[in-house]
Amino acid sequence: MPTAPTKYLDPAALARLRNLGLAARLVVEGLFSGQHRSPHRGYSVEFAEHREYTPGVDPRHLDWKILAKRDKLYVKQYEEQTNLRCYLLLDSSASMGYRHSGAISKFEYGCFCAASLAYLMQTQHDAFGLITYDRAVARHIPPRQGKGHLRVVLDTLEAARPAGDTDLAGTFHQLAETMKRRALVVVISDLFSGPGGADELLESISHLRHKRHEVVVFQVLDRAELQFPFDDATQVEDMETGRRVSADPATLRNEYLKKLNAYIDAVRMGCRSREVGYALADTSEPFEMFLGNYLSHRASITA
């Protein structure tokens, strides 16, 4: 794995690019700058087609027979079989559209994360799919590989808008039943889902684990959600349910943070006990740093 980048990309600046693909490429190239090629190479099992040789292609793939017959350089191409299938589960509920003072919402942050991971998968010839969901699955793109598929995924991400309420547990149970093949499931969500609490959510994640999926949870939260920096008298309106709460902000903050921390701790401990990767993302910090930290940490424990 590459070393940690020395310069981070400002999420807001990336958001201004309006080009998810370019942003994802910048992130991934930043992450793996200096790396010549992916250390993971697929192995060929089935011939696919011939293609005219261009300089730079590994001469090992030259079809020597055609060279002998026609005196032309062709290379053989095979149907590659990846060793990884990845599902990117992006929460597109209304709460993900929250942003306080920053230029980027949780949903946009999640999109960048998903795009970056997809780009990374594509560069490594891994198969990746995208599932957006709110109360139920909104869009399901099965995992495939290739640049064309990446384009499809990126277009889907750009077209997605956060709306509706969430039923994370129900969605995860549903996906656990529908995803037959074993895969890496990356959950990108704020994990704010109904009144069920952490137990219901963790139970659904257990269901995914039970289906032998490897699960990684990225809990994306806004800085304002983490700190609740409201000093004036505040009336809080729930983005999903429309519930309104008027309260003294100072009192509100303490009570809110106490319960939020308890919830995060419960999720974190639950993930750990279920061997589920967990990382908490703050939308105000560069997401290539967040991804880089997580991936480097993950690489260090898998080495």
């Binding site: 709460s95 959600e225 983005m239 309260a247 003294d248 509100l252 903050r253 943070l257 993930c271 993950r298």
Partner: protein, 771 residues
Amino acid sequence: MFLAPLFLIGLLAAGVPLLLHLRRTRRVKNVLFSTTRFFDERFVQSSRRARFQDVLVMLLRVGLITLFVLALAQPLFRLPGLAALAGGKRTVAIVIDDSASMAATGAEGSSLDKAKRGAMRIIDDLSPLRGDRATLILAGRRESGVRVLFPDPSNDAEALRDAVRQIEPTDLAGDIPSAVDQARQIIGAPAATPQNGAGSGGAGAREVYVFSDMQASGFGEGEAVSGGLNTSVVFVACDAAAGGVADNISVDAIQYGTSRPMVGVPFTFAALVTNHGRRERVIEARLLIDDQVVAHKPITVSPGRGRLVRFVHRFAKPGWHPGRVEIGPDPAADAKSVIDAVTADDRRHFAVHVEQKASILAIDGAPSSVPVKDELFFLRVALAANTDVASPAADRAAIEVTTLTPEQITPDRLKPHALVVLANVGPLNAAALEALEHYVDAGGNLFITCGDHTTPSASAPWSSQGRLHGGLLPGRLTQIVGESAAAEDAAGIIGSVADEHPALAGFADGRFGLLTGVTFRSRIRFDAPPESVLMRTADGDPLLAEKRFGRGRVLLFGSTIDRDWTNFPLQPAYVPWLYRIVGYCVQPSLSDAGFVAAGRVVALPSSTTQTESLQVVEPDGTASAAIPGRPSAQRVTPPLEFTATEHAGVYRVRSATDGADTPPRYLFSVNIPGDESEPTRFDKEALSTAMSPDTTWSYADGPDAAVEVGQVARQGLGLWDQLLLAALLVAVFEPWLANRLSRRRLQAEPDAMSRRDAGPSTPHKPERSAA
């Protein structure tokens, strides 16, 4: 209504906490938030409670400022029906300060004129039909008691007005506390404390109006003015001179160079002139004897300082001579006729009795052929000396000493002498003792010194209760302390001297010689009433005591007049001490009252063996009869007293049977009390320090405001004390509540990101690497 409504401007400040609160609460933000799943109902309730507490704190702050401002504004709770409910009648005591300072004159007349004008308005405001009554009290300091013009409150308004019109300024000092207390008793207000005595009280409003120039000395020192409960006291400032009194200059005292003026012998008068003002003054001081200016000199007196002015006069004739020292404008520097607003203290009167030649009779109880061992040796030598430092040219001894033995005492031999000295005299026969008693009772003076002959047993008849006036001695001799052969100070040393006594004035500060070196090998202990003791030993035993005996007096010295028991005759202080004692005795017994403060009761010595009626002719020529005083334990036979000493001047005492051409028997002078010259005046704030806390009082700046202030005081109930107390309670509670709230809010919960690194977030080991 409010007594200080300007402070109500401060109520604007009460809006500040309200504005801050409203600004804070109106700035409610509608925040679209990702979730409210963490805000449960219990928390919302606590938030409501916090909001209520915020409102409570805001109300407390508003209340605190409001209460404080209202207290400063001095709200008066008016109950127009209160007087009617209580019966509606008013019982009013009008106290008018008739002290000397009230004669101070300004553009609108004197202070007393203003006071009388104010009193008239109060009387005009009374309603006889309703049953209003009033009394009139003069607040001059009189030893005989406050002068009450209407012992029973009267509803005769015209009589009250007449009485007010007739009030004239006096030369008295002021005594506001006594006058107010007297007013309280007359109008029936209950005292603050039961033991102070209480009237039974009557229905209706009780009011005391005090018209005074608010001179600080009129309020006494540390004496609280108490009007009693349920009584409103209104002080009305009537200072006509206002700032003029600040320039007051006065003659505060006169000292005599010696106690005994003699014909042809220069006699010194020293007058103390004090400048109470703030600028240096050049004035002329004059000495007048028998109404003739005999000396005058210009003097310069620095501000705030006193200046001693000495005059020397040689009397040509014996007998009584009235006189005065007065100050006036310096003719060379100032042509005005008066030098300040208070003219009463610009002169000080005196009366001296000039002796042709003093003759004393000494009874030698222990004669000796060796002069120095004679009991009277040192006395003769001392009295032959001349101590008048102001007249070094005096060439003769003014005191002639005649010596007798105890057996030679007869009434005829005693009579010519002003003083008889019993020097270490043993037992006396009955005739001699009776002759001495009659001699003293008729106005003679006796100076008894002790010794080995004057023992307790020998002198027992002299102090027998069966004798005239309880016996000659001021105290019964009880015990001989020490002996002649003992150590120098075996019987003690001199401990204290009554330096206020005219015979001993000046010895306390050593001006006439130090008494500290005097030691006694022996002395006789005697028990004299404390008020009669003039000198004491360091042990507290009486050493010199005085007793009035009819028209005369007796002095008892507890040791010898020679060196037998003491080293006193060898001390420098002996000569002036003896001179002052003898000089004091040879003067008429009224001489200690030569300077009587106006308002004091003057005791006129009278004989019990010679029934007589005395008259006192006042400075204005009015003749009044002296009246017997009250008998006391010390004085079985009360002396005649004269109480009408309200005006400064020289008073002449004569027998009622004397003809008009007969010279007066004696004279005494009355002067304005020294503290009456003090220019300090009380304002409202200073007055509050002199008032008893239980008294409801108010202050009017002038007589024109007296009626209105009185109405307010009568109908109103001052609430500022209660408001201040409430403000104090709120001031204590508000920080407690605010602190409690802020402490709860400041218990900040750390945000989740700060716990991220410390928390259990380590991802599990994946089954397969994703990258």
